[in-house]
């Protein structure tokens, strides 16, 4: 059967899609369509909520399953971060000079190829004052109490901070951009993303070039929404997004998707 990829055909597939009852080609068509069609996305999410109710809690999973899970958890060294900040999923890695040379080369190539890299800098980095930190704590507490998303609250506070730096990561020819806000203490958030969704086996990864060293600043997932990270803001020269395999890589060999360079 030939499947037309128009809205009505896709719409008719949404129920089967929510039940994983489509083939790989149809799944890819629906995945793509859902990126662009809010009504179909809402309908699909609704179907998934309905079928989730069909899976009643019949009996708890055997205790040995939790024991295996708990034994497999990897917890990195905790960092001293505000409570409203999610630490990086992976420890920072300072990658090799060779890798930096590669990245620097690519970065230069990107600059040449793009002609210009859009830079938006709302304000200069300054010191985070105690009052703001206290406000962030309070907002985080209130957000938890109200069961709202504390990350959204944190981004709102960050964007209102006159000392925050806002960077637009973009590139000529790229189909989207990524907006990042960085506070003076190095807390940052990816808060707006119009890059295309990647397949499940790929992820976007954020790299910070600081004092000529390239550091992984976080694995962002295949469809980043709001993602917190933390970097050392002193000596920040560039922020680069690459496309990597699921889980991220310690050092990248891929071309930058979008980038921002300090003026």
């Amino acid at each position: 059967m030939m499947l037309d990829s128009n809205h009505l055909d896709i719409e008719e597939l949404l129920g089967a899609y929510a039940l994983d009852a489509v083939d790989d080609r149809e799944r890819a068509l629906v995945d793509q369509h859902l990126l662009e069609c809010e009504p179909c996305r809402v309908e699909t999410d609704g179907h998934r909520e309905v079928v989730a109710l069909l899976s009643a809690d019949l009996e708890p999973a055997p205790g040995r399953v939790w024991e295996r899970i708990a034994g497999a958890l990897e917890t990195p060294a905790r960092q001293s971060l505000p409570d409203n900040v999610v630490p990086l999923r992976r420890e920072w890695r300072t990658i090799s000079v060779r890798a930096f040379n590669w990245t620097a080369g690519v970065a230069a190539a990107v600059v040449l190829a793009m002609g210009a890299v859009a830079i938006t800098q709302s304000s200069q980095i300054g010191e985070l004052n105690d009052q703001l930190a206290a406000q962030e704590q309070e907002i985080s507490s209130l957000a938890l109490a109200l069961e709202t998303d504390p990350l959204e609250q944190a981004v709102t506070v960050a964007l209102d901070n006159p000392s925050a730096q806002i960077a637009t990561l973009t590139a000529e020819g790229a189909s989207g951009a990524m907006l990042i806000v960085v506070l003076p203490d190095g807390t940052g958030y990816v808060y707006e993303n119009t890059l295309e969704q990647l397949p499940d086996d790929l992820t976007y990864q954020l790299w910070a070039v600081i004092d000529e060293k390239v550091i992984s600043a976080g694995v962002l997932g295949n469809r980043p929404d709001i993602v917190p990270f933390h970097i050392d803001p002193d000596g920040l020269q560039a922020l680069v997004i690459t496309q990597e395999v699921y889980g991220g890589v310690p050092q990248s060999e891929g071309d930058p998707v979008v980038a921002w360079f300090d003026a």
């Binding site: 129920g15 929510a18 179907h47 069909l54 899976s55 809690d57 295996r68 917890t75 507490s141 957000a143």
Partner: protein, 191 residues
């Protein structure tokens, strides 16, 4: 800052806490949802060992990639169950493909028994859910059960019940829409 009682947290702050590497938060998510996750995997796979492996995988994925959960798109429960279902179905279809290579006629046979609907029906669905499902006509209920609990594609369902593919596809969709209303009527609201 006052201590947070994990059992009172909603999905989004709970997952945020998991993002901060809180094992207690993951344990709370496991307490809330592991029964459904494990139960669904076992229903689909009919194999306790595989069901436990899927359960482990689902919660480790939540630990390793909490950012994949988007509270704006649904509950944590539906997020976890969607992954559970997808992985379980992948296993079934991989097994089905292997059987196909071994025996061209065997692909549907192991799961094609005409009693599958009855088997599914008897697998201790909660009474309220049975009630909501029973309000669907058979033409909508069977395709949903065979696809969701049997792990079949809608084309396989069409073959199993002898209906056109387009009809099955439409009835799955219309059945899910009615089920949403029916589940609300028996006191199970979707978010």
């Amino acid at each position: 800052m006052r201590p947070v009682e994990l059992s009172t947290l909603g999905d989004a702050p709970l997952v945020t806490a998991i993002g901060r590497f809180s094992e207690e938060a993951l344990s709370e998510a496991y307490r809330r949802h592991s029964g459904a996750v494990h139960g669904l995997a076992r229903r689909i796979l009919r194999d306790e060992t595989l069901a436990e492996e899927i359960t482990q995988e689902v919660f480790l994925r939540l630990w390793n990639n909490p950012e994949k959960f988007d509270a704006g798109r649904g509950s944590l429960r539906s997020f976890l169950l969607a992954h559970t279902h997808g992985r379980s179905v992948d296993l079934i279809r991989a097994e089905s493909a292997r059987r196909t290579r071994e025996d061209n006629d065997a692909r549907l046979t192991p799961r094609q028994g005409q009693n599958i609907e009855e088997e599914v029906w008897e697998m201790a669905l909660a009474d309220t859910i049975k009630e909501a499902l029973s309000t669907l006509g058979e033409s909508e209920r069977r395709p949903i059960e065979l696809a969701y609990f049997g792990g079949h594609t809608y084309r396989e369902v069409a073959e199993l019940i002898g209906q056109p593919e387009g009809t099955v596809k439409s009835r799955i969709r219309s059945g899910l829409k009615k089920l949403k209303v029916n589940l609300g009527a028996v006191g199970l609201e979707t978010p």
